[in-house]
Symmetry: C2
Subunit: 383 residues, 2 copies
């Protein structure tokens, strides 16, 4: 024991020297963000030479006011600071704007990428934030793996969450296929959507049945998220390649891989498909194209449409006739797809297609998609 | 097919609107970094209001000169630019310095964290860079999972690489335990070390036997990397808590989890342990404390010492007597641990303890540790 302590102490001293040696390392000498007891958040930036600094974020105050921008004030040493009013418990994103340049907070290493933008994140305590945090509960595993898609003619990457206990047990599990929006990829639900935290927390509270969650890459021209395939470290972008077969047509390859590599319950009642925006459109298509596969469907701010097409109409009628347990449509009341979803529901009413509608505040944003997942997962796979 | 196309086109149009709606999104209107045909790299930053801008990186030119800093020049529109000389093929890290503030390149979403610093990365083509890139080869899976450590009294997180084909086959595999340095965690070898890319590429070229690589968290006071445990989104720091049992004493818990959850060959000849800096110290300790477990040991810029302690000396003599296949010591000739490693090797010589020494250029840096892994892995588990 003593000898270990001695050598470890030597190592620690060594590391201080190592730090001095590594020119790239430098720490900001301020604390930012600082989450205060009343739920307000203080941001700081050490920038003595700057003329102007501000925080750009998606903050919502406790009384429901959205704050997108806050001018920072400079102290005599050149440290800029801004404190929000008390905020609602949430996961927030922000960047700094310094003399017209957008930058991440150099004191905050927690960063999410949304398409081609990177931004810092923070979580404030309370009901919703607590659901997005890593808590002291049993944790599932998260695997990035590659599957063969013969339909698209390529190897493709996916992210798979298996609940705590999966490795040790022999039980079979139901599966939620969870699809991202345009510009996203197989990382989006993990980082922006906090899927593994939400699932760990819901399962630990007994509010949700343990399930496997499969997060695919919904861009058929792409093998994997930016930087994760031989396409290299390209600038992420929204793109559409009509020469490819569609993601929906290739979805059988996903199910086939998952069901032969994981212990799944291979029944309609144990499969769900849900997605946001483009992924909501994918879920709309996939659930009607594979009407024997999914008893649970979630359309989150979904890009729905095409019901005037005779084939689409016929497939929806067939889906209705075959039956399912839940067809859940969720949309924010300021979402630009609000009207399209309303129109779609009018059509569903006209053909007697049953669904449940959940309307929230807000627009086409991740805050809503995390809420929708938190509400949708507990409704799945009732025993 | 047609209907799918129609709805997808609608989605794509929708997304352009979505982008306008999301105030946090904004793209830099310059390309940066731009890797030029001659291996030079051009960096750009749109900052019309800045007075001074520079690039800080760890670039090495083709003729071996290290460049840590490059002043950018401003064009008439306020775009700053700097071009390096032709660079050696490598993975490089850099940040911008704008009027005294260190920031990531807003046009480059590829970011690594090293302890409490975040920095952009890029890879230039050629021999070494090609080994660190994702290439069009079969890819292994990477899993983040949690194991029980009764010795430390906590659940802990680890990262496990399994080679391509692991899921589909029934074969058993040898295991390399790969340990990080002080301030690092179970993510460090994946991000800074490019382990999954190096392993995929070496295995695909037939230069390395397919193996499982286990990347643990070597900080016994910690459950997981910053942000991945209930400790929350704290500022990463180097820390030492002598009240805890040591990582080395708890290493049996790691082996036990891996060998009961993965298809491993449970023999000394199929186990390797290697690490950098503090993790090199851990490998030094673990290999002598468990002398029946490891036939392959890698000390990369290792924090070694304590041989004057009678127990350490006795355990090294026992390790020597029991025998092993490879004891590989690698260090850079400007590493601050160079002297300590030289002293350690003198001691090994004095007791007739066989080892192989690899001396490289450079100091205590990730460039060297990637090279050491690339050279060490091919020497493991000869059939």
């Amino acid at each position: 024991m003593k000898k270990l302590f001695i050598s470890l102490a030597a190592i620690l001293l060594s590391c201080v020297a190592a730090q001095a040696q590594q020119a790239l390392w430098s720490r900001a000498n301020v604390v930012s963000p600082q989450i205060n007891d009343d739920g307000s958040v203080t941001f700081r930036l050490n920038a003595p030479q700057a003329d102007k600094a501000a925080v750009a974020g998606d903050f919502t105050t406790k009384d429901g006011k959205d704050i997108g921008y806050g001018e920072m004030t400079r102290d005599e040493k050149g440290v800029w600071e801004f404190t929000t009013p008390p905020l609602r418990s949430e996961l927030y994103s922000y960047t700094f704007l310094v003399d017209g340049v957008r930058m991440c907070d150099p004191s905050n290493v927690y960063i999410n990428r949304d398409v081609a933008s990177v931004m810092n994140i923070l979580i404030t305590d309370g009901d919703r934030g607590d659901l997005y945090k890593v808590n002291d509960v049993p944790h599932g595993s998260v695997k990035r793996c590659w599957y063969d898609s013969p339909t698209l003619g390529k190897q493709r990457r996916m992210t798979v969450y298996t609940p705590a206990g999966y490795e040790q047990g022999k039980e079979k599990y139901p599966v939620l296929y969870l699809l991202h929006g345009a510009g996203g990829d197989e990382e989006a639900w993990m980082t922006l959507g906090r899927t593994s935290q939400i699932m760990d927390n819901l399962i630990a509270k007994g509010q949700c049945r343990p399930m496997i969650v499969v997060m695919t890459n919904g861009n058929p021209w792409q093998q994997a998220a930016p930087g994760e395939s031989a396409a290299g470290m390209t600038q992420p972008a929204m793109k559409f390649d009509p020469s490819q077969k569609s993601f929906e047509e290739a979805f059988g390859d996903v199910i086939s891989y998952v069901e032969s590599n994981y212990r799944t319950i291979r029944k309609k009642e144990a499969r769900a498909v849900a997605g946001l925006s483009m992924g909501g459109g994918h879920s709309f298509n996939i659930s009607r194209m594979y009407p024997d596969k999914f008893d649970y469907v979630g359309l989150f701010s979904a890009a729905v449409g095409g019901v005037k097409d005779a084939d689409v109409a016929a497939s929806l009628a067939a889906q209705r006739d075959k039956g399912f347990k839940l067809y859940w449509i969720a949309c924010g009341n300021t979402d630009f797809l609000y009207g399209a979803n309303k129109d779609y529901m009018k059509y569903l009413d006209s053909i007697g297609f049953p669904y449940t509608y959940r309307e929230s505040d807000g627009g086409h944003i991740w805050r809503n998609w995390r809420i929708y997942l938190s509400e949708f997962a507990p409704m799945l796979f009732a025993k």
